[in-house]
């Protein structure tokens, strides 16, 4: 396997373990603000009502574990079990040192490769010293070395991270719309693949402020909204243009309604496999339109995931839904326009 795909696998292993923390934490925090909606603008917004305060606190704890878990499991992917400890600590160090996502991912690699190296160096040690290896060398030496390197990582990445969060915050007007469109297009591009995950990760990262606190963002709203259009438009196309799809795809269309509503882009895959040249440009365009519209309207989102359940958590529900409908219609109509009538003989 190539080095590049190895590195991708390590990051994705980290992502697969950190996603539940992000989703659960983000949802609880968003719910807290929803329940406490009567106190908007007050200093205690989000925690005035006891139930909201409890949700907010629980959500914050889950959310604050996100970077340590990400780094910990990147390191786990590289060095197996002994990687977890230095990885998690490196993620914590990145978080408290203000180097955020980039720092945490780098920290995971630092911890992972340090343990990997220690494993190689100690591979010839006699079996009797096995306990020394797992109890002292990997955890203690590994952690010391990792923490040492993290000083340098923080020194370099912290300013970069500050700059990026600042730039994202100041982004407005045309550049914001463009970013929304690009995020939407990327999400649709490979439906859950590497490009999609990169765009999604970037959007989730925009929910953490420079100091590591949770915030709401336009980028996340754009991602959440455009992500729903992908499967939804394929589903709607099977309903509006039934003659253009065979029975297999019509069945897939029913599932795609549910997937679209649940923010799962994968519902579009059967369609893209069957008619790549027609479907792919359509869903990319539709998602980009939805993303651009959300950004143009300046709608913000505090939950790290799209789908119909998080619609109430957006800062402007009507405009958010409008963007979703327009985006979906654009790509559905494009699909209808581009695909030809299904020939009955094609059924095998």
């Amino acid at each position: 396997m190539s080095k590049g795909s190895q590195i991708y696998k390590h990051i994705m292993t980290g992502v697969s373990y950190f996603l539940p923390f992000v989703i659960a934490g983000g949802m609880l925090m968003s719910l807290a603000f929803l329940i406490d909606a009567g106190n908007v603008g007050t200093k205690t917004y989000g925690s005035t009502i006891p139930l909201a305060a409890w949700l907010l606190e629980t959500g914050k704890i889950a959310f604050s574990l996100m970077l340590p878990i990400l780094a910990g499991f990147v390191a786990f992917s590289i060095a197996d079990r002994p990687g977890i400890l230095p990885g998690i600590v490196a993620g914590m160090v990145a978080q408290s040192g203000g180097s955020g996502f980039i720092g945490a991912i780098l920290g995971g690699f630092v911890a992972g490769y340090i343990i990997y190296l220690l494993k190689k160096l100690t591979s010839n040690i006699p079996r009797t010293f096995e306990a020394t290896k797992t109890l002292i060398i990997f955890p203690v030496i590994g952690l010391l070395l990792t923490a040492g390197v993290m000083i340098a990582v923080n020194a370099v990445v912290e300013p970069l991270n500050q700059f990026l969060t600042g730039a994202l915050k100041d982004l407005s007007g045309t550049s914001s719309i463009l970013l929304g469109a690009v995020i939407g297009g990327m999400l649709a591009f490979d439906m859950g693949g590497p490009v999609n995950k990169t765009a999604y990760l970037f959007s989730v990262a925009s929910l953490t402020g420079a100091d590591g606190s949770a915030t709401s963002s336009i980028v996340m709203a754009a991602a959440a909204c455009s992500g729903m259009t992908i499967s939804m438009s394929c589903a709607l196309a099977t309903t509006l243009f039934p003659k253009k799809f065979n029975d297999n795809l019509k069945g897939a269309g029913k599932a795609a309604y549910v997937m679209g509503a649940s923010y799962i882009a994968e519902g579009a895959i059967p369609f893209v496999i069957a008619k790549p040249k027609q479907i792919l440009p359509s869903i990319i365009t539709g998602a980009a339109v939805a993303g651009a519209l959300v950004s143009a309207f300046g709608v913000k989102m505090s939950a790290p995931i799209g789908g119909i359940f998080t619609i109430p958590l957006t800062s402007n529900i009507p405009l958010y839904i409008l963007s979703f409908i327009i985006g979906t219609l654009v790509s559905t109509l494009m699909i209808g326009f581009l695909t030809k009538k299904e020939e009955p003989v094609e059924q095998t």
Binding site: M1, Y8, S16, L19, S77, D190, G192, P194, I273
Partner: protein
């Protein structure tokens, strides 16, 4: 009947993992192989491969975008692809299995 085993895993572990497993299963059955696919999804490992499964298998297919427990496949003919390739090109992968042109995995 010759047996093939495999593992699929994707970052979210909700959809791709299972679609890849299904795609490979179908392609394998088409060529008359017995097939067992382990899925490493968001809810953990399902349909776990036993030592006996691996022992009996003539080939191993790994379709993963995340790390998979690999040591157990030492010395087996093994094909490693991405989840996307497994979904789209399962037939091509199976033809490779049939041709026998597979590298032996060294852990």
């Amino acid at each position: 009947m010759q047996k093939i085993v495999g593992v699929t895993a994707c970052p979210a572990g909700i959809a791709h993992t299972y679609m890849a497993a299904e795609s490979i299963e179908q392609a394998a059955k088409k060529l008359g192989y017995e097939i067992k696919m382990e899925t490493n999804g968001a809810s953990g490992v399902e349909n776990r491969l036993t030592e006996k499964d691996i022992e009996e298998a003539v080939a191993v297919i790994i379709a993963a975008d995340t790390s998979v427990e690999m040591k157990r496949f030492h010395g087996k003919p093994l094909i490693e692809v991405s989840v996307g390739e497994a979904i789209r090109k399962a037939d091509i992968i199976m033809n490779q299995v049939k041709s026998g042109d597979i590298e032996i995995y060294q852990s």
